[in-house]
Amino acid sequence: MSKLTAERIIAVCLIIVAGIMYTQSTGWQQRAGSFPQFAEISVAVLAALMFLRTFLESSKKRLSGNVYFEFTYKAWKPLAVMVAGIAYSFAIFKLGFYVSSVIFYFAAVYMTGLRSHKYIFITAVVLFPLIYVFFSVVLDAFLPEGILF
């Protein structure tokens, strides 16, 4: 796919999303929808400008070339860690903060491709007691508890 097409697709998607949100915010009582509608209309107008701009010669030059999708693990690494991060944000309320954090730490470090086992282990040994002392002891913060603790 060319970069020009990708830019147009993004602009059209923005217009569609702004349109959907605008429809949802119409008919709200006592002007509750006025401010969101201002933002939605403005996004749609700017996205339309973004779309129209792609027909200008200068934009065609700037957006020449294609969007490349690399299907290697290296390219998808941030996405894999992102998914792990999202799972982690839910897991802390099921497994507990400490258990899920330890699992996430080792999983995410290995997902990034780091293999210095000694370094990874020593950091964990320092990190988690430090978090426990600072948050649970000093700040007396309640951290989510799960199956074990």
Binding site: P36, R62, M82, S89, F104, T112, L114, I131, F142
Partner: protein
């Protein structure tokens, strides 16, 4: 100079001890994304409950000043701002770190923050009552136009991709409307989810957009490499005269913006830093490299967010109007100790209030030494391998966000903003623009709504009938003019847009 008589009161073991405790706690808690000064100050209340009022309040104000500065450590070193008032520093500060200039960034940040805090403290000491009257001039119409002034900063922080930057800012405005509408109690875009009823907080948004997104960006490179690309850090932590002179006007602009914005209740450091940064970009000279680690940009943002600290206490001390959450917590502490804010505080208890203000000024002074050493030590984090740093940042994002509110929804909102921030950064939709929209949205909406009600749906005549609003509108026009004018330091404007 009645106030000078109370300088000696500060120099007692108890007061100095409280000051040091406040500085250390403020710096550490402020540096952790999610916690920030309000939490640090709140932690100090039970500790100081039975202390003399001046000692307890010195502890609070020292914690406040140090907390604001502490937020800049992580913003500069790993692009994970500890507080929303340090978000703008993450732009130039982190770019400097990436180029192996972390210590230089810390040097300038420390100097700008310390001097900003001291100047702000003297303004608080000598000009509090008259400036408090100025803050009373700010009504709904002024809040609305101040928010518009803040929004003009979006164009500046978009670095050439103005259209996408504006879309990002408007997306932020839209996000700020999620939740129960304050005026009508109507749930907007909540889809029946109770967690969204209270809206999207600034804290989860700033942590997600900057810190969590940064962790994902770190995963892109080689896991063994570090952020700064250097293997050693120097101990040269004091700024040279030449460095200060190079940034002198940037520092003045930052301090001035901070001092003025501090007086405006509800604006504070979160807005001041962006206005200062945008002003700095507009005043850039050929050779300046904004967005690529320009020290002048960092000097302005760091000067402004600590320049706010003293003057933001003025409406609280003189009028009893807290300008922000930190000031509100300090106000609570003031009342716990049996003191009532207002003119009478200065008239009936000068020995307490002036001792506290001197304590605030000295705390900023001592903070310089402690902060420079602490920040230098923390800079070792930039030598960590990226593969190790990314998961650690993500864990701190989660624990910091949850500790701040105790609300699981904030953790999920933070994660969602992490994903949005990562993608926005990748495709040139400025995450800073999104954050600005979220910060300014409620101020703008509330101000506009009040103006519509007061003016009976005729807002323009009402706004133009108030001189302070007109003055701010002139400033907006000047800011827009400079935003559209090609900047002296920009070479390839078209490339990014």
């Amino acid at each position: 100079m009645e106030s000078l008589d109370f300088l000696y009161n500060v120099v007692s073991i108890a007061n100095l001890g409280a000051m040091f405790l406040g500085i250390v706690v403020g710096l550490i808690v402020g540096a952790i994304p999610g916690l920030g000064p309000p939490m640090a100050i709140a932690l100090m209340i039970p500790i100081s409950f039975e202390w003399p009022p001046e000692t307890a309040l010195i502890l609070m104000v020292a914690t406040y000043a140090a907390g604001i500065y502490g937020g800049s450590f992580t913003a500069i070193l790993i692009r994970a701002p500890g507080t929303s008032a340090s978000a703008a520093s993450a732009i130039e500060g982190y770019e400097m770190t990436k180029r192996g200039r972390a210590i230089e960034a810390i040097r300038m940040s420390t100097f700008a923050s310390v001097m900003g805090g001291i100047i702000s403290g003297f303004v608080l000491l000598w000009l509090a009552p008259p400036l408090a009257k100025v803050s009373l001039l700010f009504g709904p119409s002024e809040y609305f136009v101040v928010a518009l002034l803040g929004l003009t900063a979006i164009a500046a922080v978009s670095f050439g991709a103005v259209l996408k930057g504006l879309i990002a800012g408007l997306f932020g405005l839209f996000v700020s409307t999620i939740g129960i509408d304050a005026a009508t109690a109507f749930p907007r875009f909540t889809y029946g989810m109770t967690g969204l009823m209270s809206g999207v907080g600034i804290l989860p948004a700033v942590i997600g957009l900057f810190a969590f997104a940064q962790a994902l960006t770190l995963c892109e490179g080689s896991p063994k490499s570090n952020i700064s690309g250097v293997s050693k850090l120097s101990w040269n932590i004091w700024p040279r005269i030449s460095e200060i002179l190079h940034c002198r006007w940037s520092l003045f602009r930052g301090w001035f913006t901070g001092l003025v914005m501090g007086i405006v209740p509800a604006a504070g450091g979160s807005v001041a830093q962006w206005i200062a940064y945008s002003w700095e970009i507009q005043r850039g000279k050929p050779g300046d490299k904004f967005g690529e680690g320009e020290v002048k940009g960092l000097a302005a943002t760091e000067g402004s967010n600590n320049g706010v600290t003293g003057t933001s206490l003025i409406p609280m001390f003189v009028l009893g109007i807290p300008g922000g959450i930190s000031a509100a917590v300090i106000l609570g502490a003031l009342m716990i100790h049996g003191l009532q804010p207002g003119d009478r505080l200065f008239r009936d208890s000068p020995e307490i209030i002036f001792t506290v203000i001197w304590g605030f000024i000295l705390a900023n002074f001592f903070m310089g030494g402690i902060a420079a050493v602490l920040a230098r030590t923390m800079a070792y984090v930039t030598l960590f391998p990226r593969g190790l740093l990314a998961p650690i940042i993500m864990i701190f994002c989660v624990v910091g966000t949850f500790t701040a509110s105790g609300n699981p929804w904030d953790v999920w909102i933070m994660t969602a903003f992490g994903v949005i921030g990562y993608l926005a950064h990748k495709y040139d939709f400025s995450p800073a623009g999104i954050l600005l929209g979220i910060i300014l949205g409620p101020i703008a909406e509330q101000g506009l709504r009040n103006v519509l009600i007061i003016s009976d749906d005729n807002p323009l005549s009402f706004i133009f009938s108030r001189w302070i609003s007109v003055l701010i509108i002139v400033m907006i026009a000047v800011a827009i003019y400079y935003s559209l004018k090609p900047k002296k330091w920009e070479t390839t404007d078209e490339d990014k847009s």
